[in-house]
Structures are given as structure tokens and as C-alpha cells.
């Protein structure tokens, strides 16, 4: 091969890089998929963007794409929202304290659900993963079926139980009890799936790692705390976030148990405001809606990296 031929050959190679046969269609597929997903999510994306823009505008209704031409940003709706001026023509319907109270209520329900779910499902998941007890398989299947039941279907029974148990308590404790009840019943909808998720994380830790620690001189509690828990940390983090969001987003349980007691969360508050479409002032409701979205956005950014973070080395299965 003379130098000229070599040069030509090299150029040919550069123009048509050698690609493994099976990567060609896969790459094309990726592009097609990316376009399809992009197109499919475009309407939703536009809706969210309009929602956020509306919360910074002073239009009478919901902002539309045609309004964007003469869009003037303002933070007035946010101020109105935090001051409780949800219907500007009607003056202050809420005090700032009440608005903050609604946000706090939402946080209490979300955090409560998160704590209950994490505590129960890490323990139950560990038991399912490690202990071979009688009826283990049947119980695991039952847990899976429980997950399949929609929460709405259970609400009549849950409500009956609530009313029945309420009679046993003094009326002064009813508000607190309603909170606890919502947290427990909402958490129990999340727990089945969470148990399975945690079981999966525990299953990935070989028995030998625990044995090694016991032989090294650690007690079972210490092994659990210093070896097992750190290894399932990504799982616990993901779980607590999912459970938090479930509590944060819950509408039906909050609506059934808290709203009759005049306790609002962001979900029921927003629903209340848009119920009367004639009087609703959209920029303020949009501000509440945007606030409602924030945890979801934050948590999705954080979970992605958490779920990918796994320890793989040092324990071949």
C-alpha cells in the first residue's frame, strides 16, 4: 500500500466509522423514541409552563399561547396568594397564617406518611428477605394483592372504621386523630409496594456480609445499623421521597377526613378555589399550583441520582 492509498483508506474510515452491526438499528431506535417521547410530552410540558407563567401574570383567566405576545411578568399573584387574597374582588378570604397553616398541614401529612412507610417497610422488607418463616410466601403474595387495590375502593370501610373509632375519643382529640388517621391510612396504601422495594434492596446484600460482621464480633443490632442500613441507604432515600410525594399529592383521603374538620392541605385548597370557575382568580390559583409542584420537581432531580447510586463491589453474589 503506498502512502496515497493509505491516506485514502484512512479517510474512508473516518467518513464511515466502523459500527457494530447491532448498534446501528439501536441508535436509530433511540432517536425515534426520543422524538416520540418529546412530542407526546409536549402538551403536558406546555401546560406546566403556562401554569407557572400564569402565576406570574395578571390575566383574568388562564394564560394561553396567544397571550404570550403581550405577557408582562409580575409577582403580584404570589403576594395575593400568601396574603390570602384568593379572590381579589372579595378582599382577604384567608389570613397569611391560614395560608402558611395549609402549607404546614400538607407538610405534616407528607412527612408523616414518609416516616411511617420507611419505618414499617424497612423492617418488614428485612424480615421478608432474611427470615424463612411459615407462610412467608403466602404473606408476600397477599402484600402484592393489597398493592393492587385502588385506595378509593377501600375508603368506605376505612371511613366506617374512622367514624366508629372517633366515638371512643374526646372531641378535643378529634383533629389530631384525623391527622394520624389520614397519615396511617395513606401510608398503608404505600407500604405494600415499599416492602417489595426494600426486600429487593436487602436481597442484594449477600448473607455472607452479615455473617462476616457477626464473626468479626458485632451483635445483630450492630450489624443491622452499621452494615445493613448503610447498604440500603439509596433504597431508604428513594422510598422516603416516594412516600413523601404520595402524602403531599394525596387528595381523596385528605378530602374525606380532614376537610370536614376544616383542615385544608394544598390539594383540597386548590380544589376549593377552582370549584367556582366564575369567581376563581387564576393567577393566584396558579401560584398555589406551582408551589404544589415544587417538591415533585426537586425530588425527581434527587431520586434519579440516588437510584443509580448502588454499591456493587466487594460482594460477588
Amino acid at each position: 500500500m503506498n502512502p496515497l492509498q493509505r491516506l485514502r483508506a484512512r479517510r474512508r474510515e473516518r467518513e464511515e466509522p466502523l459500527i457494530d452491526v447491532e448498534t446501528i438499528p439501536r441508535r436509530r431506535l433511540t432517536i425515534v423514541l426520543a422524538i416520540a417521547v418529546g412530542l407526546a410530552s409536549l402538551p403536558m410540558l406546555i401546560t406546566y409552563i403556562l401554569l407557572i407563567l400564569t402565576s406570574f401574570s395578571n390575566t383574568a383567566g388562564m394564560l394561553t399561547i396567544s397571550d404570550l405576545a403581550h405577557y408582562v411578568p409580575t409577582i403580584q399573584p404570589w403576594i395575593d396568594f400568601l396574603e390570602g387574597k384568593v379572590e381579589p374582588t372579595a378582599g382577604h378570604l384567608y389570613t397569611t397564617m391560614e395560608i402558611l397553616g395549609i402549607i404546614l398541614n400538607t407538610l405534616i401529612v407528607a412527612a408523616g406518611v414518609s416516616i411511617v412507610v420507611v419505618l414499617t417497610s424497612t423492617m418488614a422488607g428485612y424480615a421478608f428477605s432474611r427470615i424463612r418463616f411459615r407462610g412467608r410466601k403466602a404473606l408476600m403474595q397477599l402484600v402484592m394483592i393489597l398493592h393492587a387495590f385502588p385506595g378509593v375502593a377501600l375508603i368506605i370501610a376505612v371511613y366506617a372504621l374512622y367514624v366508629w373509632s372517633l366515638a371512643a375519643l374526646p372531641p378535643s382529640a378529634w383533629n389530631t386523630y384525623a391527622f394520624i388517621y389520614v397519615i396511617l391510612s395513606r401510608a398503608s396504601l404505600e407500604i405494600p409496594m415499599s416492602i417489595w422495594l426494600m426486600k429487593g434492596f436487602f436481597d442484594k446484600i449477600p448473607w455472607e456480609v452479615e455473617w462476616a460482621a457477626i464473626v468479626d464480633g458485632a451483635s445483630r443490632i450492630r450489624v443491622w445499623r452499621e452494615i445493613v442500613l448503610p447498604l440500603v441507604k439509596p433504597g431508604i432515600a428513594a422510598l422516603s421521597i416516594f412516600a413523601f410525594l404520595a402524602g403531599w399529592e394525596d387528595f381523596i383521603y385528605v378530602w374525606v377526613f380532614l376537610k370536614p374538620r376544616d383542615i385544608y392541605t394544598l390539594a383540597t385548597f386548590i380544589e376549593e378555589q377552582v370549584r367556582n370557575l366564575e369567581t376563581a382568580y387564576f393567577p393566584v390559583v396558579a401560584a398555589a399550583g406551582t408551589l404544589y409542584l415544587i417538591p415533585t420537581i426537586i425530588f425527581f432531580i434527587t431520586t434519579q441520582h440516588l437510584l443509580l447510586e448502588t454499591y456493587a463491589g466487594g460482594m460477588k453474589a
Partner: protein, 355 residues
Amino acid sequence: MVEVRLENVTKKFGRVVALRDINLRFRDGKFTVVLGPSGSGKSTLLYLIAGIYKPTRGRIYFDDKDVTNLPPNKRNVGLVFQNYALYPHMTVYENIAFPLKLRKTPQRKIDEKVHEVAKLLHIEELLDRYPHQLSGGQQQRVALARALVKEPAVLLLDEPLSNLDALLRVKIRAELKKLQEQLGITAIYVTHDQAEAMALADEIIVIHRGVIQQKAPPKKIYEEPANLFVAGFIGNPPTNLLKARLVDGAIELGGSRITIPARLPRDGYIVVGFRPEHASVDAEPLENHASIPGEVYVVEDMGKEKILTIIIGGEMVKVIAPPTAEFKPGDKVYVNIPYRRIMLFDPETGARIEA
């Protein structure tokens, strides 16, 4: 350093009997290898000594101390697992320091000891790394360091080399033997690899289906296997075992009659065994040898030797020949076995018949 003793130990998992009435002594300061195929109960034996399993019956002693009901953390054993079982979220340093930390050893002493054992195993430069940043061989050394740092009474190793590639295995094998000699520690090593067992052991315990088959030094296991199982398990290629008929006190094999200077029953059946490396293949029968006619089937040239597969009366045997041997498939030959190298077994019980 202690002597480990098992007395009448039986271990059942539900209805499955993993170990049946085991009586064993692991000598102080010696390297004992427990050898058996998978499912033989060898790992169960190790975990019983570690205290992870409790015997269904029987007692376990460390010297004169009864440890049967002692939990693992009170036994002071070092345990190395096949999958290393390092703590993935801790650095190499923290992994090795963990047993000492649990003993509330002062920090300065921990530091000193970790560096000492890291130096011994040549992993000093890896102390800051995490297990997933290490190669298999390095992870193995860290696991060994973690087991040794607490100066255990017994070092227990559960197939520690099986996850390594073949070259590394042979290299670390030699290092392990040297290390055990240096420290004079009582070591109990479980493996399914007979070559590993031969190379490492002061004493080999062959176990099969939860029952001890033979306990002897490697040389004796090789030369005087107690039964058919041990004969067939030790050696590569394994011992040739041929079932033969007895006719008037002579062995009828491959159409020829062999008379062996040994007292045998007048009739019935017997199993004849010989190692591939002890027989020779020649064009003619030899004096003082049992000579069996056969036909060459396959020739495998291994470089340092040739492995010949020969058909004798419908059965195949393997014989090691020197690299210079010139044979080709189809050659009519004689397999010549020195009389003193022939092993005889009872086909019913499997036990070896002493000549």
C-alpha cells in the same frame, strides 16, 4: 492457636441431614483442608466451627473449652468467604479495622495493627480505596487481612480462591501456604478443588454426602485412598476404575486374565483401579506388570506429557505417556501397570481391599 475438636456432630436442615455423626480433630497450628464436591456438607462443617450454624447434636471444642453454644462473636475465629464479603461502604482500612473497632481497641493500636497486617499481605497502598475499586485478587487479600487482624484462634477459609482466575489462584495458593507456616495459625480450608487440597494441606479430610470418607496427609490420600470415592475424586485425570470379574482367584479384564500377588475371593466381582500416571503404554506386555491389551482412541498432547485414552474391553481409561511417545488412534497396545500400583476395591461397599 487452638485445636478444634468435633464430637458426634450431626447437622440437619429440616429433614435434610447435612452432616452425619462427625468426629474430627483439627490439629493445632496445622493446615487442614476439607475436600468434597458441592453439597457434600463441607461448608456446613466450617460454619459450625465458626458458630454461624449450631449443631443439631454433638459438641464442638476449642482445646478443652466447649464452644457449642457460644455465638460467633465470642469464638475469636477469622472467616474468609468465597465472595469475600467485604463491607462495600467502607474503605479497605475501615474494613480491616472493623473487628478491632468492635473490640474497643484504642485508635493508635488499631492503626498500628492495620498497617502491620496490610504490609504482610502487600495491600498497604490500597488502604484508602473502596472494595469496588479493587481487583478480585486484591479483594481476596483484604478479606484475608480482615480475618487475620484480630489474631484469631482459628482461621477458617471457605473456598477463598474459587472466584479468582486460574493463574492468580496458583500464585495466591503458594502465598497462603507460606503465610500459614509463618504465623503458625490453625487453618481450616474448605474446597472442592483436589489440586488445591493437595498443594496446601498438612492433612486432608475428604467428605461426601455428609460423611467423612478419609482423613490423612495428602501423600497417603493419593497413594492409599480409603475407598472408591476418594480414589475417583483425587488426581487429574482421576483414577481409572474398571469393574472386573473374578475367575478362580484371577482377575478377568479386557479379555485377558491377570494374576495378582494378593489374596482374593475365588469368584464374584471386583473394581480395579490405577492412576493414569502409574501405568505405561507399550507395544508389548512387560514383566512384573499387569498387562491389558487395548486400542488407542484419542491422543492429547499437553506439551509436557501426552494423555492417551485407551479402550479396554469396551471401557475407556486414561494413561499419561511421555511427550516423546509416538502413538496414533487405532494402535493396538498394552497398558502395563506395576503390580504394586494396582488398587482393588469392593464393588459393594466401595472400600479398598488391602493387598
